[in-house]
Symmetry: C2
Subunit: 376 residues, 2 copies
């Protein structure tokens, strides 16, 4: 938690649940990433937190933007981003959304299928397109399965088709999974992409960009490698595979930019036990999986907590949200412990919750309004 957030929580005691996000920390993270990967161009993954104060600060810093939808394109433009600094990075787009983005000046689009490529050729003619390839997600705490990307053979054929359709076969992209804690995941993916660069060059298609996606981790409950380690591993692999003929390098960090800039302030609604001798207390908060903490699904992302009783004796807990849905349980199997003194009415802070919280919140499940947001 930054001193500014701590001060805000103490002086304002805002109604819970809410997110308090320190926009200066966003700037620090952006600059830290620039230093770690000076040759990469940063496209902030808007979906991580699309709030206007975040976007406009990043516009001021010269960031580019990775938009998941036309609505996110509009949010970037409204925050002052130039359309040439926006990439429409979702490989699944309605053709009307492609056209709307193209009409607003966006000229870079992702794809991973022939169907999408043909939509792009019709509705975003001449644009730069990049093909997402499937790579391993081993090491990622929020892995991405096979939903996005295609096999190398298909990617090769599609890039050739892109040129035939009048599009600019500009680049290749991959994603090693979110909250990726292994630097080697990038190395393996770069090797795979480099092979395809060569194949395509031999086929007469000169690819000029590699998009390394995001995934750079934030410290939650466990230590993660420093961003410098990722930068070194990535640049090492890039040099090994591309030598002096480095393509443009694009990265799409989301979590890394905003994750540790935000804190959710919540209230303990109830502390109980299921039986009189049950050693495990249930601690129910006024925010849960459907209030924004969606990434606790499967206990994947393990946030840390700050309570007013930290430092005193602790005991095992199950931590759950406030709704009448039992899947709205945050942590039951991850051996969480909280002070024995924690009680109903306590304020509790959930650390490093600046990413993937606000927009995941349900509109009114069980009648609960989405969490409030404070950008300071």
């Amino acid at each position: 938690m930054t001193p500014k957030i701590d001060q805000f929580l103490r002086s304002e005691a805002p109604a819970t649940p809410c997110l308090v996000l320190d926009v200066d920390r966003v700037e620090e993270n952006f600059r830290r990433l620039q230093v770690a990967m000076p040759l990469a161009r940063i496209y902030y993954a808007v979906k991580a937190n699309p709030a206007e104060p975040v976007l406009s600060r990043l516009v001021g810093l010269g960031s580019s933007f990775d938009a998941a939808s036309f609505e996110e394109v509009e949010a970037c433009l409204a925050a002052g981003a130039a359309p040439e600094h926006i990439s429409y990075g979702n490989t699944i787009k309605k053709e009307a959304a492609i056209k709307a983005a193209f009409d607003r000046g966006v000229r870079m689009f992702a794809f991973d299928s022939e169907g999408e490529l043909r939509k792009l050729a019709r509705s975003a003619p001449g644009s730069r397109v990049y093909c997402r390839i499937l790579v391993g997600n081993d090491g990622a705490e929020w892995p991405l399965s096979r939903k996005f990307g295609c096999e190398l053979d298909m990617a090769r054929d599609l890039m050739i088709l892109a040129a035939e359709l009048g599009l600019d076969p500009f680049g290749l992209s991959f994603h090693v999974g979110s909250q990726q804690i292994k630097t080697t995941a990038y190395e393996a993916a770069i090797a795979k992409a480099a092979m395809l660069f060569t194949d395509l060059r031999d086929a007469g298609v000169q690819v000029r960009m590699i998009n390394l996606g995001g995934g750079y981790p934030v410290r939650y409950r466990s230590e993660v490698p420093e961003i410098d380690a990722f930068g070194a591993a990535i640049m090492g692999a890039m040099t090994e595979h591309f030598g002096n003929a480095l393509p443009d390098i694009v990265i799409e960090p989301g979590r890394f930019i905003v994750g540790d800039a935000g804190v959710v302030s919540a209230e303990v609604v109830l502390v109980s036990r299921k039986g009189e001798d049950d050693p495990v207390r249930w601690v129910y908060l006024d925010i849960g999986r459907f209030g924004g903490l969606a990434e606790t699904e499967g206990e994947a992302i393990k946030y840390t907590f700050r309570t007013p009783h930290d430092g005193s004796e602790e005991g095992p807990v199950t931590i759950a949200g406030p709704t009448c849905d039992s899947t709205d349980t945050l942590y039951e199997k991850s051996n969480y412990r909280l002070p024995l003194q924690v009680e109903s009415g306590d304020r509790i802070e959930i650390m490093s919750t600046g990413a993937y919280v606000t927009t995941y919140a349900s509109q009114r499940f069980n009648g609960f309004a989405p969490l409030a947001e404070h950008y300071i």
Copy 2:
């Protein structure tokens, strides 16, 4: 799909994604349930669908309401419900919410812990309270784990404490899990509750109500027992265990009342394959897990689909939502098949989606607005 919904979709072709719900079907389901369980008082589980047209139709039919939050209490009152017909059924409540409900006239509250009971004694003095006990959820497609309810020994002590605190120890409740397809689940739970009735009578506490919760299933992909079978099993078990001294019987159906009254109309955004020889197509819709279909988590609830090409040759598919989150995949392991002709731009209907869809929708994940709602 009811003829009225079919007609609406054909004549209006509303923008997708949207829910179209036939309020007449809500009424039919309510009446069907009354016939199947004439001795039970129906408390509609508002969280299943809190839309005003649903609530006001049910008010007109004499329904009572099970509210999960003060906001849901307010929604019921706004729709014309009398406060004495509202039960505040969430066992996890902020004390301010208890007080607010009490101030609006609500006099029935759930609890499952000492902490909650003491809040009720302070902020809803003299109210009827009922204790939720833990029972098995075997047979439920959306089981409820241990988040709600307490062990029998604790329930016994808490009911005695309720009386000592000046509350009315009115009843016991349980929940056999949502989309429960085994009638025996209710029988086992009733037996358990009946034992506690006896214990408490011996301790001088006369319990007068049993709340059987909800869970009554809707037909999705598989056949489910008719509601009459549940009614017969439940009344058989009640008679077996309580004889002529039947307590008040409360049921809290949600899904059963609204589930098959609604249809989600969606659009196919993309159909693709991951490799050129991949037999499985990926079909991406403009609604997914974060757009309202949250109950597809773990592929628990298996909706059926209607396409413009039904009856033609089918092939295997993975069905996914439109966001850049790979957990936004609906069905990958459940052997779904769709017509080979399904293509980008097709309208597709997702059947029996009247329950647990609208309020689960994220407020704007990836920039996508929540689904529209049409009550007809």
